[in-house]
Symmetry: C2
Subunit: 147 residues, 2 copies
């Protein structure tokens, strides 16, 4: 099964064709040739896409991910960057844990108004803790295929 076409890559990876073209343009993936106009991909592109998904899921931007591939195409992952990202993830996880507990509590809190619940107010302080207004974007799972 040498060389698969964009529809098949999309099918197998769950990444839309338009996104694959976009990624190619960005240099995140490469097509191996063409049949007529049509891109032909090496099945290895699936690993690459998994790697990209990993990076995205870990909070790297596409640009950061792009920088992680050596010019020759093989991953040249910076171990220090990985460790740093792991630490960052750790902090994020701790925050999210507090959030989750707080939300969970708020969901069952008997106080008439959330603002009167001490636990909720504590949660508020946690949220406000690291400088109010610093978005952290977690758990943004969106459109699967668009309804």
């Amino acid at each position: 099964m040498r060389d698969i076409d964009i529809a098949e890559v999309a099918q197998l990876s769950g990444v839309r064709a338009s996104t694959l073209r976009f990624y190619e343009e960005k240099g995140l993936i490469a097509s191996h040739g063409r049949r007529g106009l049509r891109r032909l991909f090496d099945p290895a592109v699936l690993d690459r896409l998994a790697l990209i998904a990993l990076g995205r899921a870990s909070g790297f931007s596409l640009n950061e991910i792009a920088r992680m591939f050596a010019p020759d195409g093989r991953p040249r992952i910076d171990r220090r960057a990985l460790a740093a990202k792991a630490d960052e993830l750790d902090r994020t996880i701790r925050r999210l844990n507090a959030m989750r507990d707080g939300l969970r509590h708020a969901a069952v809190c008997p106080a008439p108004s959330h603002m009167e619940c001490p636990t909720f107010r504590r949660l508020l302080r946690v949220a406000a803790a690291r400088k109010i207004g610093e978005p952290n974007k977690a758990g943004k799972a969106r459109r699967k295929v668009k309804s």
Copy 2:
């Protein structure tokens, strides 16, 4: 200390004035009056901002957060939504934990290339697991004040 001005709110909350205006326009906060052109805020806006920060940190969008305030201005938080978000957070946290462990390992992995490391490949599978290409945005801590 009745009524504080936008600069003070910015100062106390860490939210930029431009953002505060933007939030007001979006209906997320309200100024209590004006002295000349200048907005005057009730110090309670700080609680409100903390609430917004909480929502953002938990993964709610500004629009979702806006919907959480009753027309009268007091939080009308949907407990079911909170519980759902808590569950979502839980799933996110589990994923991030796997990520972090994987990253941590990758950072010290002795394999010559990450692609040859079984742990790394397992991590890749985890990342690819729930439909490759589903971004999850975690740990995006950015600009504090802009360098």
